[in-house]
């Protein structure tokens, strides 16, 4: 269960005050595939960063699986990011100098898992996202779709219950984009993984997602149950 109430994020510098999110209240049950849509600057990414523990809210409460993210200190947030949640991004964010296997194994290093086990688990995870043959390739040697699969494998390596996807198809052609969304929908269906997908491709999202949340100027505009 993800529960969000009165969540606000305000970026304030000496001169400007930007309200990225204001009074967002929302709850998502376990195992849901939710699509968050909205125009650029509507606060989608900020919403996801707060949910992923990368950023801290100005006000409000976030609770994921019974843990109050909004009250965690830096150390606890790191632990939460390590195993409570997985994130993927538009630009994949793989480490360029390291091959697919090493990228997937990265979170396990911080979890203190021994090297041998890291390799075994990473190889299995890569096989599950359909990249069993390309484990030793570096990101630059992989296509966009393949890179995003590596990122998905990395996000799931610590078995989180929640996957957060920030415009995962933004850098992909439409066919590959569909493949990636299909993969996410499959993980949601088969393993009960909660997926929160931030996208502006509403049509594609509408095909797979259970719930749709539309943000506008930092507020929830509409909330729909699609299926």
């Amino acid at each position: 269960m993800i529960r969000i109430s009165k969540l606000s994020k305000i970026y304030a510098t000496a001169k400007v005050r930007v309200v990225a999110l204001q009074d967002v209240t929302l709850s998502l049950e376990d195992g849901v595939f939710a699509a968050v849509t909205g125009a650029s600057g509507s606060g989608k990414s900020t919403f996801l960063n707060l949910l992923g523990g990368l950023d801290t809210p100005t006000a409000g409460m976030i609770e994921v699986g019974g843990r109050k993210i909004s009250e965690m200190n830096r150390e606890e947030l790191a632990l939460y990011r390590r195993s409570g949640v997985g994130m993927i991004f538009q630009s994949f964010n793989l480490i360029p100098g390291r091959d697919a296997l090493e990228n997937v194994a990265l979170p396990l290093i911080f979890a203190g898992i021994p090297k041998r086990e890291r390799r075994k688990r990473s190889a299995e995870m890569l096989a599950r996202v359909g990249l069993g043959e390309r484990m030793r390739h570096r990101p630059s040697e992989l296509s966009g779709g393949e890179q995003q699969r590596v990122a998905i494998a990395r996000a799931l390596i610590n078995n989180p219950r929640v996957l957060l996807a920030d415009e995962p198809t933004g850098n992909l052609d439409s066919r590959t984009a569909r493949e990636i969304i299909t993969l996410l929908a499959g993980l949601n269906r088969d393993q009960g993984l909660t997926v929160v997908l931030v996208t502006h491709e509403e049509a594609l999202a509408g095909e797979f997602a259970h719930r749709g949340v539309r943000l506008h100027d930092g507020r929830v505009e509409t909330q729909e149950k699609w299926r």
Partner: protein
Amino acid sequence: MKLSDHIELAFSNLRKRKLRAFLTAFGVTIGIGALVSMVSFGKGMQKNVTESFRSLDLFNSIAVFAEDFMTRERFDPDERPPAAVPSGAGRVTLDDAAMEKIAALKGVETVFPEIRIPAIVRFNEKEEFRLVQVIPAKVVSSKAFRFSAGRGYGSDDENSLVLSKSFLRRLGVDDPETAVGKMVTISSIAFDFSRLNPLDLAAALGGEKLPFRMEDYDLTVVGVTESMTFAGPMPIQSDIFIPPGTSERMKKLPFSNIWDIFRAREGRLGYSALNVRLSSPAYVEPVKREVSEMGFQSFALADQFEEVQRGFLVMDMILAAVGMIAIVVASLGIVNTMVMSILERYSEIGIMKAVGASDRDIRRIFFFESSIIGSLGGVFGLALGWVVSGIINRVVNYFLARQGVPFIHYFSFPVWLCLGAVVFAVAVSLAAGIYPAMRAARVDPVRALRHD
């Protein structure tokens, strides 16, 4: 994170930028190399002095004087004490009786008077002016004298002498072995009583005929010492020695410096100084006490050695300070490299944080990288310092050997210096890594992951 992962990650990150890591580590190498060779030079000098003092028995030697030698401002045997010394009447005399009394003290091995005879030394068709020191056979045969050829004279009455290798070289003989058994002529200066008549004296005042003449004595070279030698606690080296019996048979002036003349005028007899050798440094204090109760002054180098040690400490600190400059520059190099590395790996740091790296993990990743640079620099710096000082040592010894100076290790590498250098390099690099590591840990993942 596991320690092994930290080390592996640090090495693989450094390998990605080999040249820069190498150059930074090389900076540390030079810094540590400079520091190590500086300190080892200081330590080497100290070790040489201490060891030669010890091997020459200087720590168990005392000089005994009839008057208050030490209150004189300067240590110059040709100078009269500035403060008026009360006349000899009523004062103890440093004569043979006193010498026997001192010799009987517990711990005293040998006592011999400090006598130096001004003389012209002729050998190999060359001549040199020297103060010939009178030393008993027993002392010449002690470990204070190291021979590169021959040996010490067997008795105090032998018609023989010992001279130093460097003096022999001045006389044009390079191989000490060839000199052993040859005759050396010593010309001492003696009063010519026949000239001591008023008429001649008048001429002498004109500078033509002083009432002196030369007395020639032929002595056999029995030994050649390796270097000039301190034969007593007085820091005056000699390079030609004769036995006391032979000295007594020689006609010579009864003084070797102006001070002796003044003493003689004041009617004070006896020797100006005695050299006392003890069986152990432990006897220095008790014997000095006894000697002062007898009314004499004494001087021991052991007393001065603390001062010498303090001097070495100051020298060490100055040398270390010079070495430190290079270390400071090298540590700035580390800071620079690590800060550059943060800028380049900004998004990588963001990724690591996004997948669950804590601030502490990030800090440690950077600490490990800088400490690996530092420890590599430390180890190679130690090696560099060792190699460079070894080369300098050889070169210096090569040139000094041509002037008759025996081989000396000018650098010393005690174990604590080797370990300390590496530990210090790591400590410095950790200190240099503090700022970059803190900065890396503070990277905001949201900003680092934003791609514009």
